[in-house]
């Protein structure tokens, strides 16, 4: 029961940290806004300067919310993939889900000109892009899953994911060759990844998508626990394997797809964050891992975004660069101290 007490304290610390970082994230940027004013404007009162109010409501708050949603969603889909594929190195980026989403988006941005205007107008809207991107990651996930059936070795699955990633980027490259400069620019900006510039409508769509994904994950917690012993044991304990696997796959592709659609492909969060949660809480119990992964996802994405803004400077770094700087060393460290506990 001591472990329970420890976990409760950890959860309280994480929740407080997430709120604090949310406020700090909003206050930092090319113009520093005092925490007091940040707090005022997001709770509904008026900040002491009108420009501050404007910056917060139209730029910083949407970006902070996006960071939280992206962090939560990517980290959770990483956790689901790691348990489903029984592989500590699985994650939406590694398994090629982000590439699949890229392919979906590329098809739309670069290929829309080939379609009638009425169709392309819908496809180029936020809904169209989310749909294409989720579909892209769903198809890649299905393909990886189909191949993984024939492979007993879980490491081979990663290589398969990598290959699908290469395949989809090859198709994307071919598409760029045939597209106009304007389309190309639009796609390039998207593929660099960015948490900013999302309209409130886009954030609402992203919020709904992540909420659906997280809810599906929440009802999969029991199956995920059963899958810790492998497919056959899980079935012997009454798990409807096909149904559970479908739910897990749907949750992952909805989250990874929609996030990639709006924020571009973001590396390493899905892979590294679940490990941080596992390391801190020292458990494989998904009831605890789910919530801790969600919280750590939000926290780490907020930190990465705060670093990316380079406080006090006029320029900002691409978010992908920051998450890679943070995530790549973790992966190397994991491989070096590859022990049985990773899971």
């Amino acid at each position: 029961m001591e472990a329970n007490k420890r976990n409760s304290i950890l959860f309280i610390i994480l929740i407080v940290a997430a709120f604090a970082l949310f406020i700090i994230n909003i206050s930092l940027g090319s113009i520093a806004i005092p925490l007091k004013d940040v707090f005022k404007s997001i709770t509904g009162s008026i900040a002491s300067k009108e420009t501050w109010q404007y910056i917060i409501v139209n730029y910083r708050l949407p970006k902070a919310i996006t960071a939280v949603l992206v962090g939560m969603g990517l980290a959770t889909s990483g956790l689901l993939m790691q348990t489903l594929f029984r592989n500590p190195l699985a994650g939406p980026y590694v398994l090629g889900l982000s590439s699949g989403a890229s392919l979906g988006v590329a098809m739309i941005i670069l290929g829309a000109s080939l379609l009638p205007v009425s169709v392309s107008a819908f496809l180029l809207s936020s809904y169209g892009i989310v749909l294409a991107s989720s579909l892209g990651s769903f198809l890649v996930l299905l393909a990886v899953l189909a191949v993984s059936y024939r492979l007993k070795d879980t490491m081979a699955i990663l290589i398969v994911g990598l290959m699908f990633g290469s395949l989809t980027s090859a198709v994307v490259n071919t598409l760029t060759y045939f597209s106009t400069a304007e389309e190309l620019q639009k796609f390039t900006f998207w593929s660099l990844g960015s948490l900013g510039n999302l309209s409130w409508t886009a954030i609402t769509i992203l919020f709904i998508a992540v909420l659906i994904g997280l809810s599906l994950s929440l009802i999969s917690i029991k199956s995920l626990d059963a899958l810790l012993l492998g497919e056959n044991y899980a079935k012997s304990m009454g798990l409807n394997y096909k149904k559970s696997r479908l739910l897990i796959i749907l949750a992952t592709s909805i989250m990874a797809g929609s996030i990639t659609a709006f924020a571009g492909p973001i590396a390493f969060i899905g892979l590294a964050v679940p490990h941080i949660a596992k390391l801190v809480f020292q458990t494989s119990n998904h009831k605890i891992l789910f919530w801790s992964t969600v919280l750590f996802g939000a926290i780490i994405m907020l930190i990465c975004d705060s670093i990316a803004q380079v406080p006090g400077q006029d320029f900002s770094l691409p978010i992908n660069a920051v998450t890679s700087l943070f995530g790549a060393p973790i992966v190397i460290w994991l491989l070096v101290r590859k022990k049985k506990m990773m899971g």
């Binding site: 056959n232 012997s236 304990m237 899971g343």
Partner: protein
């Protein structure tokens, strides 16, 4: 045979490929009773695992049925089957941080709510299973920190916690030294006597199986027969097991000797 729980009728086992069927055995009529420890023996590659997989519902039979209390297990849904039958498999566990207690607790999944919360009854059953398997002192260790022999007992405890009348184990004594083999066999024997469970296990430790099990299922290329160990000894069945002139079964000593 009033105590029969698990039985097969005209069962054919094997694999279906695109072109044809590979039949491993056919016309199997086995009867496993409550409170009986049954050992499944046979040479490597004879199809013990296939038989166990078919009897536990993991693999479909080519024809015939497997019945639990008269109900066809291949028509039951996994949730219903999980209340009748629990398993200990040979496959290695995927990497995880599970503690021994958590691993045993997973056996309660058929009874817990949608998110897997353990009730007081569940916790009592888990503790009982751990006590019976003598692993209570390991409860807070991680499952990768304990020895193979201890892990095997933990897996038995998990199957016990599932609280089913039937437990099927696939080669539970492989990789264990003599001491732990004996300990595991005695544990299985004790469980059948104390809890009146029907326990079926496959093994290569034939001498020990002869001494401890109530019944045996003998798999040879020609036939699959079920009988009591003393009858198998009396009719010389063990000599048919390997079909090799270098290995002989000594009826007096009750074990194999190299000639």
């Amino acid at each position: 045979m009033d105590s029969t729980i698990l039985s097969s009728s005209n069962l054919s086992i094997g694999y279906k490929s695109k072109k044809d069927e590979i039949v491993i055995a056919k016309d199997l009529n086995l009867n496993l009773g409550a409170g009986k420890l049954t050992a499944l023996i046979g040479a490597n590659g004879i199809g013990k695992s296939t038989l166990l997989k078919t009897l536990t519902g993991i693999q479909k039979p080519l024809s015939g049925t497997v019945l639990i209390n008269g109900e066809d297990i291949h028509k039951m849904n996994p949730a219903a089957l999980a209340l009748h039958l629990s398993v200990v498999l040979t496959e290695r566990l995927p990497p995880s941080n599970l503690s021994v207690f958590e691993l045993v607790a997973l056996g309660r999944q058929p009874y817990t709510n949608w998110i897997g919360t353990l009730s007081k009854i569940d916790i009592a059953k888990i503790n009982e299973a751990m006590e019976r398997s003598q692993i209570t002192h390991l409860a807070h260790k991680k499952h990768y920190e304990i020895s193979d022999g201890q892990l095997q007992k933990v897996l038995v405890a998990r199957a016990l916690a599932q609280d089913c009348p039937i437990i099927v184990l696939d080669e539970p004594t492989t990789h264990l030294d003599l001491l732990h083999k004996v300990a595991l066999f005695k544990l299985l024997k004790k469980l059948t006597q104390e809890t009146n469970k029907c326990i079926l296990f496959s093994t290569h430790d034939i001498d020990m199986a002869i001494q401890l099990s109530d019944e045996m299922i003998l798999m040879t290329p020609e036939s699959i027969t079920q009988d009591m160990p003393c009858n198998f000894i009396a009719n010389g069945s063990f000599n048919r097991l390997f079909n090799d002139e270098n290995i002989l079964f000594d009826n007096q000593k009750g074990k194999f000797i190299i000639s």
